[in-house]
């Protein structure tokens, strides 16, 4: 690889490393603010919720939903940490290595687990949001759509790419030890 190309990769990788590093701070902060100010949010912010919500919600409901929400948020942060590490490696010029393969693998699994975690969150949130409703109006929602399936497939593809990259890494290692 020419020096120019390597430098371009390193420069772009640095930007992405900083981006994902920033998101690792911003996302949990926004998440906390979201749930703290939940009762005062404009209606449009609640479109992603699994049920229609009658506000204001008591603190214990919000705290419970926040704790359950840590599942998908935690998985997303795990994926972003893998991406930050991956771009950190690219920034140092490490392209094919066991560490980069591990990052790809972690990314693939975090994508798949995020689907499961967010499905679990939606179900738990629907129960918690409607726990205070009158009898006959409590809900339990389980959502799984073609979008979720597409994301799972994408995660599987990333894991497969990791395996192929591992083969590339082994070839590179062998090449490095060919005299």
């Amino acid at each position: 690889m020419t020096d120019d190309r390597v430098q371009k990769i390193q420069k772009t990788s640095r930007r992405f490393r900083l981006l994902f590093g920033g998101l690792l701070v911003v996302i949990p902060a926004v998440n906390v603010l979201f749930w703290l100010g939940f009762n005062h949010l404009p209606p449009g912010f609640l479109d992603g919720m699994p049920v229609v919500i009658a506000r204001p919600l008591p603190f214990w409901v919000l705290a419970s939903v926040f704790l359950v929400n840590l599942l998908p948020v935690g998985v997303a942060m795990y994926g972003m940490a893998a991406l930050r590490k991956l771009f950190g490696l690219y920034e140092r010029g490490i392209i094919f290595s066991a560490e980069t393969v591990a990052c790809f693998r972690r990314l693939g699994w975090s994508v798949i687990l995020w689907v499961l975690a967010s499905t679990l969150f939606q179900t738990a949130a629907s129960v918690l949001f409607t726990l205070g409703n009158p009898p006959g109006q409590k809900q339990l929602v389980i959502q799984f759509s073609s979008n979720h399936l597409a994301v799972i497939i994408a995660g599987g593809i990333v894991i497969l790419i990791a395996r192929i990259m591992d083969q590339g890494r082994m070839l590179q290692d062998e090449q490095a030890l060919t005299v």
């Binding site: 290692d173 062998e174 030890l177 060919t178 005299v179």
Partner: protein, 75 residues
Amino acid sequence: MPIIINLDVMLARRKMRSNELARRIGITEQNLSILKNGRAKAVRFSTLEAICRELDCQPGDILAFEEKEEEPTTT
């Protein structure tokens, strides 16, 4: 690995240092060290040819095959 590299022996016989051989055959000292220490996974014919030319020897003087028995594991 069953393939043994006897480069040190030939270097001693020819009274040549590793860094000089590396310079003469056009590879880095690090690569020559990889070869000497048995860490190489493969050797190019061009490298072998250059070594044999500089050390005035045959490939069999540098390479040997010794099939080692697996050591029994003790529990």
